[in-house]
Amino acid sequence: MPTIDVSLKDVSRLLGTTVTAEEFDDLVLFAKGEVDDVNGDEVKVDLKDTNRPDLWSTEGIVRQLRGIAGTHRGLPSYPIEESDVRVIADPALRNVRPYCVNAVVTGLSIDTAFLSQIIQLQEKIALTFGRKRREVAVGIIDYDKITPPIHYKATSPSENAFVPLGFDRPMTPAEILREHPKGIEYRHLVEGSDVYPLLIDSKGVVLTMPPIINSEHTGKVSTETKNIFIDVTGHDLETLKVALNVIVAAFSERGGTVHGVTVEYEDGPVKVPDLTPRTFTLEKDYVNTTLGIMLEDDELIEVLEKMRFDAKVAGNALTVSYLPYRNDIMHANDVVEDIAIGYDYNTMEPVVPQLFTTGRTLPLTTTINTARELMIGLGFQEITSFTLSSNETLFDRMRLERPGDVVEIENPVSLSWAVLRNWITPSLISFLSKNTHRDYPQNIFEISEVVSIDETKETMVDSRYKLACALCHSSTNFTKVKEALDAFMRNIGITYDVVAREHPSFLDGRSGAVLVDGAPVGIIGEMHPEVITAWGIEMPISTFELELERLLE
């Protein structure tokens, strides 16, 4: 979800009418935008649709709002002048970054608001639509400083040194990847190839080294710039054409004249940008049955034109045309949504579906709730804690060796939340350690999911519910917690045995395994003083923990 800054004055000038922050707030919904923050003239807008780069600029929002305001309806018109500008693509780039598409825009008068939109749009396209420049990288070059034809060529890492943006000395491509901040940030996109992509003009002037960095000399646009050359590079020609179209459409909205460029590939020339309208046909009935409203033909066409489509109806066939700065229309529902937005969600009467179904919780939920009631009836306070824990909590402080097979996070935010717990008791002890200044007794329990590695499972991990409880007061001991276990087990109708079993977390001679039909289903014991004091507690603790879900199966 890209967030962009727009100037209300700039929006107002382009729309030809003054728009206040409140009005903008209401209008921008039609561009799936939401105002995040207003600071005087500056407005921060979240644009929710990650597949609509055409909306990620003042120009794109204005295009949509003109339709809503009714000043411009239907397809926008962005004429493209023919030109003889050529870009020659080097087949040697096939395995690193094969495609490049371009356009020339002339007659621009760039003010600061426009300039900041150019930079912002270029960044947002590369970041979100271009997946952090991997799929799409954009360069804007001062056209007056270069001489066509332009070569999109493979350079060896040590040749064609040029001065990259922000530096004052020529550097080879290899040096840029090693030393330039952008080189370091994006070098993974070209590393591994023995050639790197470079745009260089007929006189040997370097424009840019995509997708890394522009040249300081040609690749710097300012309010002085009148004419520009756009380069968009990546791996998929269709994706690049969309990105290029988004950019030239924005420049057209600002009054620039767009000139076509011929990119010559090994297997033939490609003329870009291509803003020939695309069409999509769907059934008119489908629109109405999907939305649950009845739109007449003229209403449908009006709503679509408001959303900057052209539309015509022939029988049940609704054919919409749109300009290919959009490539998000993959299915009829993509058109249906635009119709709904244009119609306005809030004018549709909500209808609760009359579907008879019998609701139910999982059988497990019912039995867990019974177990909770029993524990509460036995005087235990229910708590809930995080599944994420740490090796220190789960093992070190419990006098256990760290096992090799815990479910562990590779990129934890903090070491405190790096392991998914395999037992709950440590979380209870941690809880007690936070409450040493509170009244005792502190008798608590938790029923939660724990995980353990299980190679028979689809996701290699078994997650299941366990019950753990702790008695913490001056006279608790093994017997007290066994009484609680006994009461619990009798009430769920399960016959069990407790057999002596030593466990490092518990006192020797005061711990046991809980067995049902000879199989271990839990542990019970009086907490080892070293565990208690490691947590800074000065009160005896006795606990049991049961495989609740397995018991109830």
């Binding site: 929710k48 937005i341 229910e382 599944t387 562990e408 996070i409 934890p412 935010v413 329990f445």
Partner: protein, 500 residues
């Protein structure tokens, strides 16, 4: 007369005893201590006095008296005032001045004495070639020849011939400053019978045996009938006890679960650790989508990769991606494991496992995203969401179901809908609901699952997917402004939180 009998019936044994004693002492005023005896402790007298005063049978006068005591260091001072000892030792040298090291005084005494000699203006202290020299002043010489008021006062205080009122404020502060005395306030009560009390006390105040605890024995042989059952002060505060109860946030979620079941939804479940396949791929999120990047989701060291569902569904998902998103779908990437980042994977699994038509499903799923734990973020959270499946469903139904949630769960009648975007739904909508106390709150989102999602999972009817954001509602209900309290580790908060 009837009134008096009733009044007497309402008196406890203790109260009767106090009335009798007071009457014996001529009706008072009498101090509490003068009323004490074997069967009547001062605690009991004070307790009875409160009751009797409330019944206007006695009047109580409270007095505060300050006692003064000589402390252990005061007793030392009584024997010997250090500055006097040193002063006398100087004079014994035959002159009004002397070096400290010439005197036959122990170090402890001299250490204390030097300060006081200077402070009281009895001597000037100088240093000559590293030696301390004491020069007595005329004041000092005069004082040394007269007896010490400090010693006299301490002796008299100890003899109780001098009270605090006999000391001047200056003297008291000197004695306190030298930690020679301590004072202690004592509140004394003196009780007197009122006119009404005199009348009551003139009656026969029968004192019967009092029982505090009803015992099985008393019940068995009916002995309780012949004894006086001690009257409790039922208005007195009691010790706090804490029973077991539900965790308040879980209780809140229980309520939501109940509402959803009442609305006809069936609960779903899925594993805590998911493959990217179910978490993203099956939900039509392309593998190169920025939200799948490393910083926005967790990955596991161990185990790092899992298995995929049967080949036909994997192939269908793969081709759906490749057709729409124009990239080469990676099998390996889809097997990458992660703690589930949202509950929608449960809906995808449900679609794959098979659905009832019509069908309504929900889950309250624990989800994980890499956030730092603070006032507004949790490291794990519960996501409430689900699906509705039926051939007849429309976009207006989707708005209807959201509005129904707003009414049934948030108690809100007014709602507003906004266009929204989710990779897996189209059309998509977000709803704000006007909550009675919170105002407009973002409450839920929904959309119709994309065909590119449902078809590979074998479903060819409209499926509405919805999600509810109830944390703000929960925080309001629980009266908290720190989201961490949803998973509170403060037992007192859990104990004190109201459950209704």
């Amino acid at each position: 007369m009837n009134d008096v009998t009733q009044l007497i019936d309402g008196l406890s044994n203790e109260e009767k005893k106090v009335l009798k004693k007071l009457s014996q002492q001529g009706g008072g005023p009498a101090s509490v201590s003068s009323l004490e005896d074997e069967g009547l402790s001062s605690v009991a007298i004070n307790r009875a006095a409160l009751g009797l005063e409330a019944k206007s049978l006695i009047s109580v006068e409270e007095k505060t008296k300050t006692h003064i005591f000589v402390t252990p260091s005061g007793k030392e001072l009584q024997k010997d005032v250090p500055e006097r000892t040193v002063g006398r030792a100087v004079l014994e040298q035959g002159n009004s001045e002397a070096f400290l090291d010439e005197l036959d005084v122990d170090k402890k005494t001299s250490g204390i004495a030097l300060g006081w000699l200077r402070k009281r203006g009895w001597a000037t202290i100088t240093k000559e070639e590293g030696r301390v020299k004491i020069m007595l002043t005329q004041d000092g010489i005069d004082e040394l020849s007269s007896p010490s008021w400090i010693q006299q006062a301490l002796t008299q205080i100890e003899d109780a011939t001098m009270g605090i009122d006999d000391l001047s404020p200056d003297q008291l502060s000197v004695l306190k400053g030298r930690k020679a005395v301590e004072t202690k306030e004592e509140r004394t009560r003196s009780l007197s019978l009122t006119k009404k009390g005199i009348v009551v006390a003139s009656h026969d105040l029968l004192i019967r045996e009092e029982v505090t605890q009803i015992t099985p024995e008393l019940l068995r042989d009916e002995a309780w009938r012949s004894c006086e059952i001690k009257r409790f002060n039922v208005e007195a505060p009691v010790r706090r006890i804490y029973g077991g109860k539900k965790q308040p946030y879980l209780a809140f979620l229980d309520g939501i679960k109940q509402r959803l079941v009442a609305l006809g939804f069936t609960e779903m479940r899925g594993p805590l650790i998911e493959s990217e396949f179910w978490n993203f791929d099956a939900l039509f999120q392309p593998q190169n989508h920025p939200a799948r990047d490393w910083t926005d989701t967790y990955r596991l060291i161990c185990p790092s990769h899992g298995h995929l569902p049967p080949e036909d569904v994997v192939a269908a998902v793969k081709s759906s991606h490749e057709r729409a998103w124009r990239y080469t779908w990676q099998h390996e990437r889809a097997t990458t494991l992660m703690p589930r980042a949202h509950g929608t994977c449960l809906s995808a699994r449900q679609l794959f496992q098979g659905i009832d038509v019509p069908g309504k499903y929900f889950s309250i799923a624990r989800c994980f995203r890499p956030d730092v734990l603070d006032k507004t973020h949790l490291v794990e959270f519960n996501q409430i969401e689900g699906i509705i499946c039926d051939p007849s469903l429309t976009f207006r139904n989707l708005l209807g179901i959201l509005k129904q949630f707003a009414r049934e769960i948030a108690g809100a009648e007014d709602v507003r809908f906004y266009p929204d975007y989710y990779p897996f739904t189209e059309p998509s909508v977000q709803m704000s609901a006007k909550h009675h106390d919170l105002g407009w709150v973002e409450f839920g989102g929904a959309g119709i699952f994309r065909k590119e999602l449902t078809e590979p999972l074998g479903v060819d009817i409209p499926v509405i997917a919805w999600g509810l954001g109830v944390d703000r509602l929960a925080m309001f209900k629980l009266g908290i402004d720190d989201i961490r309290y949803l998973f509170s580790d403060d037992i007192q908060w859990l104990r004190d939180e109201e459950m209704i």
